[in-house]
Symmetry: C2
DNA sequence: AATAATTGCTTAAACGTTTAAACAACATAA
DNA sequence: TTATGTTGTTTAAACGTTTAAGCAATTATT
């Protein structure tokens, strides 16, 4: 038994499809459907449990009430939290979410982009792919509203949601200094991505403001290809005698977790031997023997704002721009705090 | 400038829409389009970068190449891993994924169900909502192919992907016994859900097989409403003098993590004072000072199999049934293993 | 030479909606 | 009386595809 459609309802009531449609779309007043007819229609709709075929509707109205989101990998803490907020917010506004993962692969990214566009999504939220350069041009040439999350590319006619990476990195570094660490190291990925450059700038500025000289030996930048080994040899290098490093600022939670594992393994005591601060938290932190001091991005808010910006963009009544959200700083005990 | 459609292509070439469509769908042979014409069409398609409007296509073919998945919360380890596999598998077969979260709320679940059905998804994968009873009837009455993951409801004309919960729980318990623990406790949620009942059965059977008497005092079942307190008072109860509990089997990773946090906090040494095993792992385990022995569900495989079953169901050439996947058991050092 | 088969296309209906435009019936105003 | 409005409804085109059916031109068969 096939789903009942407008025609079925109309035939059953002996009226035209148009009339039924008007009632359904709340246009009885404008289209002067008599209240008797309207009532009949409502009854029939209820009786037959009619629900509109959104595909047909979309074809006609050119609106799918669907947004696409392209993430790097759903299996990241950042992603799940942001996606969760996006989906919640969309539920609120009657939008649904189609999603695809690029797995950091630019080609996959473009494939997904095409699929989503052919599905006629009303807009896109993009959590960018590392190392991908051309996607913004592709997006722009498609004339589809989109919002970029997290990463701030050049070019200002874009809609972007991000946080002040430099500021939060500044706070992280400053906290290490304030808790008595003199030789504060920096551990990050080897990359040209804006958010990580900003974090480095925050680190540098904080040290300068504290009149501490920057020591290039304390700056470790890891090749992602060789992640685990990179972290380990980075830690080894930092903690070798002579360097007298007494604090480390990790620019991502992934690096922090891997480093903490290794510190655990080597029996290095935190915070006694070395104080640590992480940019971003990890669900794993609570299992470490001491609460890890860290910066916290407002992931939920990032998702919410991204959706709001996108929906405004879709409704065409908004200027584009970069929305910068406030982060918070969570003080634990990994720097020897009282 | 609007997207180019079949009509544009046809007009440009001075041929009919039908011919273009036939070429596009690889029906040149059957429909006897001359190779000259076909070539012209292909060129034009390329030149204008034509891509089909999937909405129109779907309306006609009644196929959206989209599946819906309803999860409890994207923010769970189980969910992200399964969803990741589902999406990867779908990419392979040219399907896209629409998703919605029920947040454990049956009403939200039904709302999402309706939205997805109106979007004409070809099928559904459902990671069930705790405490929801009616959803299966709702699903069945909708005559839409669907696969249930993880939880095994009564009624056998369903397609289900699950693991052998009893068997894996048996292994977990047996391992505690084999590593010298005599007074093995069980900590789970207070629930009637099949997978947790099965895990309890595994625990009981393992002890019986080892000729150890079941002690109701060592069985803790936590009210989810009061989760953190429940875990803590459960641990307190188990470790109080007199009970001489020397091992605990946690039936979920969430319970295990919360318990480990509390053990940490209280300074209780694992595995010296108490050995622990967890059903399911957590990304947090590596930060614990000792590797946690645990059962591992084949999450990726669960996702893959769910998709395969669903696509077969959609193509109508498959019997339904319960596919039970093999789990593995990861030996750490949390039971005092050498 | 007449008929049949093949080739290469086109026509047009259909999918389930929305919506501008038309229309019939009646009421009101001049 | 004629024109003018108002009310309640229907008609039909359109959205961008797919696809069965039709048809003219050419080629093959008898």
């Amino acid at each position: 038994m096939n789903k009942v459609n407008l025609k079925d309802i109309a035939k059953h009531l002996g009226i035209s499809i148009a009339t039924v449609s008007y009632v359904l779309n709340g246009q009885e007043k404008e289209r002067r459907v008599s209240s008797a007819t309207a009532e009949k229609v409502r009854e029939a709709i209820h009786q037959f449990e009619y629900t509109a075929n959104q595909i047909a509707k979309s074809l006609k109205t050119k609106k799918t009430n669907t947004i696409g989101i392209i993430v790097a990998d759903i299996n990241y803490r950042f992603t799940t939290h942001v996606v969760r907020a996006i989906e919640k917010e969309c539920q609120l506004y009657g939008y649904t979410v189609i999603f695809g993962s690029s797995y950091e692969n630019p080609e996959t990214f473009l494939t997904i982009l095409n699929v989503l566009i052919n599905k006629q999504v009303d807009g896109l939220i993009v959590i960018p792919v590392d190392n991908d350069r051309g996607y913004i041009e592709q997006l722009k040439s498609r004339e589809i509203p989109f919002v970029i999350v997290d990463r701030v590319p050049e070019g200002s006619d874009l809609s972007i949601v991000s946080i002040d990476n430099k500021d939060l990195a500044y706070q992280c570094t400053q906290h290490l200094v304030k808790t008595g660490h003199q030789r504060v190291a920096f551990m990050s990925y080897q990359t040209g991505l804006s958010h990580l450059l900003d974090r480095k700038a925050g680190y540098v500025t904080a040290l300068q403001d504290a009149d501490i000289e920057i020591d290039q030996n304390l700056i470790i930048e890891i090749d992602e290809k060789n992640f685990v080994r990179g972290v380990q040899s980075g830690i080894d290098a930092l903690l070798e005698r002579g360097k007298s490093c007494d604090g480390i600022f990790f620019t991502t939670d992934t690096i922090a977790v891997e480093a903490i594992k290794y510190l655990n393994q080597k029996g290095i005591r935190v915070p006694d031997q070395v104080g640590i601060v992480s940019f971003d938290e990890s669900d794993a932190f609570p299992l470490f023997h001491v609460p890890v001091t860290h910066g916290r991005q407002p992931l939920r808010q990032i998702g919410e704002v991204a959706v709001k910006m996108l929906l405004e963009l879709i409704d065409e009544n908004t200027p584009k721009g970069n929305t910068i959200l406030k982060s918070t700083f969570i003080v634990g005990k990994s720097c020897g705090e009282k």
